[in-house]
Symmetry: none
């Protein structure tokens, strides 16, 4: 199995490939790096079957639609995603194949209603539900700290402790964690009751992202010029 | 036949490929997206034989010279193009092969003296001569509305009605049109006499593009660092 993060920054985009069949998927591409993703896929000889957005992003514009068009792949989002240009909607428990890899979908609402995590062969791409040492904020429209608590504690924390956690963001230079480590050390959620977690999340008082309104449009909605 | 627009914006760059031989051409590349074009070509296994500039561009810097150098392709422009680094000049009626595809050239002066359109297998890349619902402005140096009228009405409009029109620009979100549709609905030229068209084009009163002077240099002139 091939996994590589391609942005080298705070927003993380993963190329996930099956070494034996050279089929691959791209997870959470940024609009400004689409050429890079296709270049890296081509360099390693991968063909992209699926482009995933793990949720509707508020902090960057998605490159899913552009990459899907240029690379002949399908855009996949969770069934609550409002994006009109999604090729395939998935929901909790669904499975998808990428070559010989078997991807299992977990619906993880809370940060947004359309959050999902993707689990494959001892690794889980957690989107903005579970971050390293934290969780995604729940104060945007449609956010729900109770739902997020349930998704993280009953779904993601039920995975084996050595499952590698690969989040959609990290602001402190971390690259990965494990489910076992997050269950014990995650400052936001480890050891908290549901009520306690909701109280914390409702009182974070975080500033809104720059240009929030523009970026919060449905992720895969192409710009006017490409419709 | 493979056709894909690669900028996803107002300026359009097309990758045109022969599926059977994996030979390809690139039409109107922008200087800022050269890596993306080569990535997409590599991803699909295409080798670039030709890079076309359909005319000397006033609104963006051409990436033709850069892509040609990096991808070992030839830069092709119409015979009136002043650019000193064109590998091959073509003129009305010329034909070029890209794998099993046969490209026919139409000289289409009017927007610039070196305008050309490229017709291949039921599709025509019209550059800035014929746009969707419009035509390219004719008020730059060397522009000529009468010549443009003749090129559009006697050459492009003589193609079969179902020929797909793929322009170099679109500012309203359109992706393609057909010759038949433009003959009837094109607001600038459909149903107009030559004199009427010249009068309209000479009185559009459009502002000049930002940084016009810098961008209007010969398209394929390399930067100082590559001379």
């Amino acid at each position: 199995m091939f996994i590589r993060e391609l942005n080298r920054g705070k927003c993380k985009t993963y190329l996930l490939g099956c070494d034996r069949t050279h089929r691959a998927a791209l997870i959470d591409p940024l609009k400004e790096n689409t050429g890079r993703y296709i270049a890296v896929a081509a360099y390693h000889g991968f063909r992209l079957d699926y482009i995933f957005d793990t949720h509707t992003h508020a902090d960057h514009r998605s490159g899913s639609w552009d990459v899907a068009e240029m690379a002949e792949a399908k855009v996949v989002m969770e069934r609550h995603a409002p994006a009109p240009h999604v090729s395939m909607h998935v929901t909790n428990g669904d499975e998808l194949e990428v070559g010989l890899l078997r991807l299992k979908i977990f619906s993880t609402p809370g940060h947004t209603p359309d959050g999902m995590a993707i689990c494959v062969d001892g690794h889980v791409f957690t989107g903005d539900a579970l971050l390293i040492g934290g969780t995604g904020r729940t104060d945007f429209t449609g956010g729900d700290p109770g739902q997020q608590y349930d998704a993280v504690t009953t779904k993601l924390f039920s995975l084996p402790d050595d499952t590698v956690v690969l989040p959609a963001h990290d602001y402190r230079g971390n690259q990965s964690s494990t489910v076992g480590k997050e269950k014990i050390t995650n400052a936001r959620i480890a050891g908290r009751s549901r009520d306690e977690y909701i109280r914390i999340m409702n009182n974070l008082g975080l500033p809104f992202p720059t240009r929030f309104r523009r970026r919060c449009r449905p992720t895969n909605r192409p710009s006017k010029t490409t419709r």
